[in-house]
């Protein structure tokens, strides 16, 4: 299996501790949750954290140890966790779902479809994952209020995507395969 960081610049990938864990049968919410926490524990260990427990906050978001910002995502069969020591916020998303044309129009604004889908060659699934990852890195930040991930605006910025909402921006790094899109947003 190609590395999930393929396509992410080595200098960026080197700052991440990334771990995956398979979701066991019957692939339900409980199994996905547990697989996500196991991936998070592994990512925290790789990052050098003595604390490897990630409790659930009110609202369902994972609470990583101080100084070890992290994020968890999963498909029905695979959980992913990313930890970036010293970052102020991290968002990751792993996506294998089909994104229909109607869903694409719902989530992506016209300029995003024109420049990122048609010109830059990202898939709708890539950009869906990018907005989800950016949402996790931006939401909860002072000043943003409550919003939905599709309200984030994406643009191309060198080798990365740049996500913007409420006056804040965050770079989003993509790793894309035929069957899977992985996005990681890191705020410093």
């Amino acid at each position: 299996m190609p590395a999930l960081t393929a396509g992410i610049p080595a200098a960026v990938a080197a700052r991440m501790s990334l771990a995956i864990h398979p979701v066991p049968a019957p692939y339900g919410a409980a199994q996905q949750f547990t697989a996500g926490r196991r991936a998070a524990a592994r990512a925290l260990a790789l990052a050098g954290s003595a604390c490897r427990v990630v409790p659930r906050q009110a609202g369902g978001r994972p609470l990583f140890p101080p100084a070890f910002a992290g994020s968890i995502s999963h498909t029905g069969r695979l959980a992913l966790a990313v930890v970036v020591p010293g970052a102020s916020a991290v968002g990751c998303d792993i996506e294998n779902a089909a994104i229909t044309a109607r869903m694409t129009r719902f989530v992506l604004h016209t300029p995003e479809r024109r420049t990122l889908l048609e010109q830059a060659g990202y898939s709708a699934r890539d950009l869906f994952a990018a907005k989800e990852a950016a949402f996790k890195a931006l939401s909860g930040t002072a000043g943003t209020g409550r919003f939905w991930f599709w309200q984030i605006r994406l643009s191309q910025d060198g080798g990365a995507l740049r996500a913007a909402y409420g006056g804040l921006t965050v770079p989003v790094w993509m790793s894309s395969r035929a069957d899977l899109s992985v996005a990681v947003a890191i705020r410093h």
Partner: protein, 84 residues
């Protein structure tokens, strides 16, 4: 097109069952519970919102308040408001 508040909630449950988890999942979701916290992934939520546009004959505003999309009850409330 569903007419009563009960019909609207039932139709939203049918649409959710079509896009995520089937009735085995949907029957366990309380009408007031957060769909995201209940385990509905973002892809399924978007698929549900798109399906609602077709089923109820409207389009979501880009700046819809987040709390409107939180639960079956809040989604149904939005439909009822549009029809009032």
């Amino acid at each position: 097109m569903p007419d009563t508040a009960t019909d609207v909630r039932r139709r939203i449950r049918e649409l959710l069952a079509e896009v995520f988890g089937g009735w085995g999942f949907v029957s366990t979701v309380d009408a007031s519970a957060s769909l995201r916290e209940a385990g509905v992934p973002s892809t399924a939520l978007v698929a549900l919102l798109v399906a609602m546009e077709d089923a109820f004959g409207f389009e979501w505003d880009d700046d819809v308040r987040p709390e409107v999309l939180r639960s079956i009850d809040s989604l149904a409330g939005h439909i009822e408001t549009l029809r009032a």
